[in-house]
Symmetry: C2
Subunit: 337 residues, 2 copies
């Protein structure tokens, strides 16, 4: 299938204006490839798509139980949220429960993506802070684990016990030795893996039968929390939230920066991972929607699915100018996988 495969087309009128390429793979929990597009053994950064893997040590260590974390908190630990009040209020309370505060977060301050909160900050002349960072829930999870382990305050350092526990879980779930890491948008290390390894890890989240009791329970609890609280995983109108909502809690999806998307399909015991070569979110959303339809878990006629699978494009005057569509190499006639 070549190194990269066409994933999404951007049409303006009758002329193809832009094209996005990518790689994608569907695996089962043994790492067997069910379907693949492009070079799935090339190395990629999972970015935020692997937050549920990064949350495994929080569960397995007993930290989550000790601090009686709720499913809402677990969903936030796996979230790239938009800094709406429903997210930041919960993070502030969580930090308070740990007798910590905003200053203890090691993610930087990020202007929220949520429009209402953006306008509120501007109207009241307030500054955004670290609780608005889309990763503040993940970092609250890191801080919870750190409190349990008794590590020092610099929990995003590579050799810190929190990050070492995450690296171990990440390598065990992907079945690979990570070839390197990068500093993520939130300052935590982000470990690289192959796309096949990432899909395998997601299949193991979907089908934890071979993971042993402790990790198996951890995986199930995290997947259940994400399925139960899609609005906390991203936010109103966002792809992860709306796609999960549309699938009635049957499937978990999670985006990552630079065009990554994963899916966890518990009913089929499968995992999906994809990466758009150029990093475009619009293409990653179209591609994951296409794969979810082909995997039989998303309805191609549901408005939330249409919005990603083949969204019409409008200009500032509201005129329809074109559309985005999955490329035939990926979607063909939507045949089942």
């Amino acid at each position: 299938m070549g190194d990269w495969v066409n994933m999404a087309e951007v049409w303006r009128g009758d002329i193809l204006e832009s094209v996005h390429r990518g790689r994608a793979v569907v695996c089962d929990s043994r790492g067997e490839v069910i379907a693949a597009w492009g070079d799935i053994d090339a190395v990629t950064y999972p970015r935020s798509s692997c937050k549920m893997l990064q949350a495994l040590p929080l569960m397995e260590s007993g930290a989550a139980a000790r601090f009686a974390l709720t499913p809402e908190q677990l969903a936030l630990a796996c979230a790239s949220h938009e800094g709406a009040h429903m997210h930041t209020d919960r993070v502030v309370k969580w930090l308070g429960d740990l007798e910590l505060g905003e200053r203890d977060l090691r993610c930087g301050p990020q202007f929220p993506r949520a429009k209402e909160e953006q306008e509120e900050l501007i109207r009241f002349g307030q500054k955004h802070d670290r609780t608005h960072n889309n990763c503040s829930g993940k970092h609250s999870g890191f801080l919870t684990l750190n409190k349990h382990l008794g590590g020092d305050a610099e929990y995003v350092e590579l050799d810190h016990p929190v990050q070492q526990a995450i690296l171990t879980a990440f390598e065990e779930m992907t079945g690979e030795t990570s070839p390197g890491f990068g500093i993520d948008g939130c300052s935590a290390p982000n470990h690289a893996c192959t796309l096949r390894g990432l899909a395998t890890a997601m299949a193991r989240m979907a089908d934890p039968s071979a993971l042993g009791e402790i990790r198996g329970q951890a995986a199930q609890d995290l997947v259940s929390a994400m399925k139960a609280h899609p609005e906390l995983v991203a936010g109103q109108g966002r792809a992860c939230t709306e796609l999960m909502d549309s699938m009635d809690g049957r499937t978990v999806v999670k985006t990552g920066a630079e065009g990554v998307f994963i899916a966890i399909l518990p009913e089929r015991g499968l995992g999906v991972a994809l990466k758009v070569q150029d990093g475009a979110t619009r293409a990653a959303e179209t591609a994951i929607a296409a794969l979810l339809v082909r995997l039989g878990v998303a309805d191609p006629n549901h408005p939330a699915v249409i919005k990603r699978l083949c969204p019409k494009q409008y200009n500032f005057a509201g005129l329809e100018t074109g559309r985005i569509a999955p490329a035939s190499a990926l979607y063909a006639d939507g045949a089942a996988i």
Copy 2:
């Protein structure tokens, strides 16, 4: 060189995270190809990169002279501005001079890109309007031409005299029969052409010696206006403005949506056009900076050039996470063209 060529690389730490491909060509005013990357005869939409071509009928018809348009207004007619006061104030005055108003613009209302004006609108509970649209200067030019021609109010219709005059000028400058058009973000028709045709048109703007007296003067006046007022062509901190500033008015550059960039090099009589396959602005900026350096008109050590040629990437905490760099297929060792 193949259909598409690597143009820009996005690195995170030591691992290549994303890659952008594209096509680029440098032509002279006879349409001779000086250098090329990828299939330059494929059809593309120039989008906003061709606004100076769309402004030619405004000049050639005598409308600009009749309404005594200033170089500032001509720069705005060729602009994709960010809706700052320096742009909208001039547009409002221009419309008033024509005894027209915001309601006569056929571009839709666009929330301004300029941060200060964004915050001002929110703080004072005001709505953005059509003067904030990045094309409101171009549309003021359309309205000026329309007033001169005595056409009806719907000046963005394909068969309207304003758009027919633009199509004629566009085809004459590109030396091609346009294979079709799309509706642009501002509701005006955007005619497609080859990348070679677009670069040829820009070379003719750079070297108007064979265009005849009227068109030659029109081209010179528009290029001079853009060179004299780079801040009106885009805005503070924007690529077009900063790159033109850095080149001391020796070269005109103009971006277009979906990863298009053009350059007009009067000193060398050359035109440049490039298109990023996936439509990414970050890659188009890196690619045009690379070509401007290779063409000897941009200084690779100037901060405004570095910011596009090889910008370091930082996260929300201010940590350096990686860099964007021109791909070797495009930039190699920066050898002169």
